[in-house]
Symmetry: C2
Subunit: 219 residues, 2 copies
Amino acid sequence: MMEEAPPPASDRAAIDGVADVVGGIDPDLAHRLRFLLELDRLKGILRRSLVLAGERRENSAEHSWHLALFAIVLAPYAEEPVDLARVVTMLLLHDVVEIDAGDTYIYDKAAVERKAEEEHQAAQRIYGLLPGDEGAELRGLWEEYERQDTADSRFAHSVDRLQPLLLNLVSGAVSWHQHGVPASRVREINSRMATGSTELWTAASALIDDAITRGILTP
Amino acid sequence: MMEEAPPPASDRAAIDGVADVVGGIDPDLAHRLRFLLELDRLKGILRRSLVLAGERRENSAEHSWHLALFAIVLAPYAEEPVDLARVVTMLLLHDVVEIDAGDTYIYDKAAVERKAEEEHQAAQRIYGLLPGDEGAELRGLWEEYERQDTADSRFAHSVDRLQPLLLNLVSGAVSWHQHGVPASRVREINSRMATGSTELWTAASALIDDAITRGILTP
């Protein structure tokens, strides 16, 4: 079954090749495929959270997949009525700007402030790959996510706080230890979870208390 | 900032710990979180497709994320009207059974047939972690995906054929070379794409022709 494999072509050239062939049949589809292939890069953006009980760092693509399922399964816990399909799309896309701007560790306040402009430029480039209305619509969902001024975006943020907190607890709080993050800072960053879901924040608070009791998190 | 990290705890014990703490407050939520943490394992199931221009193999979690966005962006190309929210949920969940049953290479016919029973047992265990109705509903979506007897599941299958084909072309068709898969077999496996979207199959066919012309796929 094994044959000699050719070396992989540069992906930019290969994506151009796909867009050229499809563009000869359907230019609109070619734009959409170029955008979708560009998204492949999110699989290479590493976060601080560890997956699989600490085996390796999580990437932003699999993180986004996990969050979408958190939203679906935890929808009954949303503080206000939400449009679940919008929340899911928002979460699938919320980190796409990291393809250009990189991941920002939420406990690094200076980096979070510095990144805003870079992320807006990234949004312009990446969503700009799509045909006009479609790109503007998806970019608008990302901007809504960033503003956190709607029920949908507040609930989306809540699950984006809960999932890394759970992964961190399940993998021995390694990333908090590595970055010297105490429980007080974990609470400060994550208490916003309550604006999207009081019940999820109540559960998360109990887990933080328990982690202190078990000595895996410093007060 | 760097402190000595404790060794990660076994994830089963840690997930039990989370479920115990949350179960003291809200047993329904504890079941949902157990299911969501179980899903983390899908990030460790490796497929044959390569990501990032061939840098490494794709895992089933990031694959599912990518497919959900394929469905959202390519929805205008669906053969029949679809309920996009259902299609997206179906795609986010379609590979979850691989946590127990492993990934099956679609070009390995014997393996595909052998796996059906294992996958059904996996569905019983994994969706069984959720409270009754919710587990049954999500499991039902997976069964519908497997049957391919609705517009939603046919479109979901179409994007599940298109995405690996595109990744393979962008990474020099390495996995087809490695497994000795010729263009005729690629066409045989992927022509079903047309039942969910004629236009996507037309584009994919043109890409297969082009790959033969460029010598990266044998006829």
